[in-house]
């Protein structure tokens, strides 16, 4: 059977409830956020482990801070990874499911490995309560980082196998013998994987710059310490981007086509390398983060363009996915995103941001206090509508139509 036709048949017969471009845009956007926290986890985790092996107080203080950053970052990379996973399954269900089924054991292993790695990182985190972690705790941190990298590799393989449909049949039934075990990782693109992982170092550097900017207003963060951190950031970021640029070219050598977005991505790495080398970042700490997110957005876009191009060779395009428009659920998502995300998420982030910049107790200003009240009001109204609308549908279907 021809693989292009197989992919068409594997598409879900229910179709999709809105225009495919909407899902594609959301997928690219949310993957950018997800991968940012993947990089932050690896970068901050690496700095923490390295820092604990040093004797200077600045290193130890920074290591403790980065341990906490990595811990929270894992939570966020998980939750932010859910959205692109969801939208991928909407548009690229044949590719994603086949790829997963070809490596099913690894898919299941991924879950338990992540739990183990995260628990090991908590071991490091709790050890920091009692001073500098001992060498066994350090080992658990190293193992955790290694497992995170393995999990990254599994995710890479699943994404990569998905865009190589011409190999699916030979992978599933090598020599005409069916393999139901899902025990193999069939395809790894080391340049692609290493390039994406390599961005952890420079992006952690950018995070450190923002970190110094954020804490510059606090008296308990002495200028010497902040200068040390800024200096470290400037040691990491420029060569980090330069190395990433080399790996990027290595990756591009094996991508069978090119596109202006790819060149823009390469150019952005070069610009970031030069900018982080020449800028002192004494009063513009957050711009560095924005630059980093820009690089990742280009990466996300380029990654999607590669998928679009490779699958188009087999006649698979997302704009041919049947659309069964569903207005109520579309409205549900966007109103929830704006109202709940805006008010409740906004309230939490405002509190965390403001409280973190003050050494003592923070008393909310009037606008933030109002945001807190509106967050509760929004949730109460949301829940009330959920039940009112739901009960109406439920009663109507139960008693009027049956």
């Amino acid at each position: 059977m021809e693989i292009g036709a197989i992919m068409q048949h594997l598409r879900d017969p229910a179709g999709i409830p809105a225009h495919p471009l909407l899902f594609q845009g959301l997928m690219v956007f949310t993957w950018t956020l997800h991968i940012a926290f993947v990089h932050l986890t690896l970068g901050a985790g690496g700095i923490a482990i390295w820092g604990y092996s040093q004797s200077e107080n600045e290193w130890l203080r920074l290591a403790a801070a980065m341990t906490k950053v990595a811990k929270i970052s894992v939570s966020l990379l998980i939750v932010l990874g859910v959205a692109p996973l969801l939208f991928t399954q909407v548009l690229y269900d044949p590719q994603w499911y086949v790829s997963n089924l070809l490596s099913s054991r690894w898919v299941i292993a991924f879950i338990f490995l992540l739990i183990i790695a995260y628990c090991l990182w908590f071991v490091v985190y709790f050890a920091t309560y009692h001073g500098t972690p001992n060498k066994y705790v350090m080992y658990s941190g190293l193992v955790a980082l290694f497992i995170f990298l393995v999990n990254g590799l599994i995710m890479h393989v699943l994404a990569y196998q998905a865009i190589l449909p011409e190999h699916w049949l030979e992978w599933y039934m090598p020599g005409g013998i069916v393999d139901n075990t899902g025990s193999s990782l069939h395809a790894i693109s080391w340049p692609r994987y290493l390039f994406i992982i390599s961005l952890s170092a420079p992006l952690a550097g950018l995070f450190l710059i923002a970190y110094t900017h954020y804490f510059a207003v606090r008296a308990d963060y002495p200028p010497d310490y902040l200068e040390f951190v800024r200096g470290l950031a400037k040691k990491i970021a420029p060569p980090g981007f330069a190395i990433a640029l080399i790996l990027f070219f290595a990756w591009q050598m094996i991508v069978p086509f090119t596109h202006p977005i790819a060149w823009l991505l390469g150019l952005s790495l070069l610009i970031m390398a030069l900018w982080t080398r020449t800028n002192s970042f004494t009063d513009s700490g957050y711009w560095s983060l924005l630059g980093g997110v820009g690089v990742l957005a280009l990466l996300s876009l380029w990654r999607e363009l590669i998928r679009v191009n490779l699958l188009a060779n087999f006649g698979y395009t997302i704009d041919s996915y049947p659309v069964n428009l569903d207005i109520p659920s579309t409205v549900l998502f966007f109103t929830t995103l704006i109202t709940v995300g805006g008010s409740v998420g906004g309230y939490y982030l405002s509190l965390l941001y403001r409280a973190g910049r003050i050494s003592g107790k923070y008393t909310t200003e009037e606008p933030i206090a109002r945001l807190g009240s509106s967050a509760i009001a929004v949730l109460v109204i949301w829940i009330a509508i959920f039940f009112a609308y739901g009960i109406t549908i439920w009663l109507s279907n139960n008693f009027l139509k049956n």
């Binding site: 594997l10 939750v79 086949v98």
Partner: protein, 470 residues
């Protein structure tokens, strides 16, 4: 091209993919329900703390919150997507059907989930670092947002059982699927249960506290909530049972209640007695008993509940239109979904399945056993182990280890072909495929080494092919 959109099959010997999913699912339910329930306990405790000037209650919230960070937001937040991964490899078309019907609902749940994760860190780390009133708002919004995740996921889980009425098949509208017949009873059951679980975990945290006054204060608030939640969960569960489809009711009365009812009654009684005891003597709560009680509820309460929910869905995996073996069971005209059972009956799985080697598409004496194994894995293994004595409703034992191929084939040609078993899919296959499956199952039941036999016959076939070539 004549084809049905079936995916490759992932086969897990002995426990099947169903148990893999079940194990991850139970861990997730424990962690996620505890976290949502705990969010309300926090909100109530903090309100008491704020109104009656009892700042010591915040110490309990902080300790519980730290515990929750690991238990729920490490294990719970990983096993949540983990269920997705597991169901992807176990029932790809099932999860695909759910996603393509409910993507926006899931995306809205993701908004709540994101807010919840940020919220739990804010809640724990900002205790004592921001003014009390702002923190109280934070805690209440966290509780409501946490419940939001449950409100949104339960409708999808209920649809997996069935839509309950014809509306969705006619309109295809997500809200007709989401607000299905048993969604509210299901929501009520889980809402009550979450308060019980959170109370039990709360008592584990209490058992580590040395301050007797604080223990009294906390327990006297927690336990009534847990008892009330438990009573509510039981009432809603009774109502839930009234909203089941006929196939589920038969499954429930025939297999599930005889197997699990005593354990479920026992867990209710033991939990009630334990909570009353804790309320009476807060100082006597110790860590060992508290952990054992939590495990009792997990093993005797949540595991049977999740197993029942999964079993009652049979023969479907989603919306009464996708069979558990991934074949579309019926038309859903509003979505242009066409049932595949008749097409498979006409052409056979071997001809229509995209992931079958060409050498197995036509059955002969050399490959019959191998084809039978492959077809059994495709058509049966989502619900049944194929090994004698295995824990997942293994077929050899169901067939009483029968070695008579004709006897097994008669079942496939009769009850199964015409869909007369209410909790099994209608599997209507051509005669040669029926014989292949029957041959395979009879061989397994005979105790022979099937893998070795398949290899021998494959080599024999290759030899024959080489001779013909020469």
């Amino acid at each position: 091209m004549n084809m049905v959109g079936l995916y490759p099959t992932f086969y897990v010997p002995e426990i099947g993919t169903a148990w893999v999913m079940g194990i991850i699912g139970v861990i997730h339910v424990l962690a996620s329900h505890t976290s949502v329930g705990a969010a309300f306990l926090f909100a109530i405790l903090e309100t008491v703390s704020y109104q009656h000037n009892k700042p010591q209650l915040m110490e309990f919230i902080k300790r519980y919150g730290l515990f929750l960070l690991i238990f729920s937001y490490v294990i719970g937040s990983i096993t949540g997507p983990g269920i997705w991964y597991a169901i992807t490899v176990a029932s790809p078309r099932g999860v695909s059907g759910l996603i393509h019907n409910f993507v926006w609902v899931w995306a809205a749940e993701w908004v709540f989930f994101t807010v919840e994760v940020i919220g739990v860190y804010a809640l724990v780390y900002l205790i004592g670092k921001i003014d009390a009133k702002s923190h109280l708002k934070l805690t209440w919004s966290f509780a409501l947002a946490s419940w939001g995740t449950m409100l949104l996921i339960v409708g999808i889980l209920s649809f997996m059982l069935w839509p309950g009425y014809e509306a969705w098949y006619e309109t295809g509208s997500t809200h007709d699927a989401f607000y299905n017949l048993n969604s509210f009873s299901h929501l009520g059951t889980r809402t009550g249960s979450m308060l019980v679980m959170a109370t039990l975990v709360g008592l584990i945290v209490v058992s580590r506290m040395k301050e007797i006054d604080l223990r009294y204060n906390v327990v006297r608030i927690l336990v009534p909530i847990g008892l009330g939640g438990g009573l509510f969960a039981v009432m809603m569960f009774m109502y839930y049972l009234q909203t089941l489809p006929p196939n589920a009711t038969i499954m429930l009365n025939t297999y599930l209640l005889p197997m699990y009812s005593q354990a479920m009654v026992a867990v209710f009684v033991i939990t009630t007695v334990y909570l009353l005891f804790a309320w009476w003597r807060p100082a006597w709560i110790n860590l060992t008993v508290a952990v054992i009680m939590f495990l009792v509820v997990s093993v005797l309460g949540v595991w049977p509940e999740e197993r029942m929910r999964e079993s009652m869905r049979k023969p479907y995996v989603a919306g009464h239109y996708i069979y558990s073996n991934q074949i579309i069971a019926r038309d859903v005209r509003s979505k242009n979904i066409i049932g595949e059972v008749d097409k498979i009956a006409e052409h056979g799985l071997l001809k229509l399945h995209p992931f079958v080697p060409d050498r197995l598409r036509t059955i002969n004496d050399h490959n019959r056993l191998e084809v039978g194994q492959l077809l059994a894995r495709i058509a049966c293994a989502n619900c049944h182990s194929l090994e004698p004595g295995a824990p997942l409703r293994n077929i050899p034992d169901k067939l009483h280890r029968a070695t008579d191929t004709d006897l097994i084939a008669a079942f496939l040609r009769g009850a199964l072909k015409y869909g007369q078993q209410p909790y099994m899919p209608r599997i209507d296959l051509p005669e040669d495929e029926i014989l292949a499956i029957a041959t395979y199952l009879a061989t397994v039941n005979s105790g022979q080494d099937v893998t070795q036999l398949i290899n021998q016959r494959r080599i024999a076939a290759q030899n024959v092919a080489s001779k013909n070539w020469e």
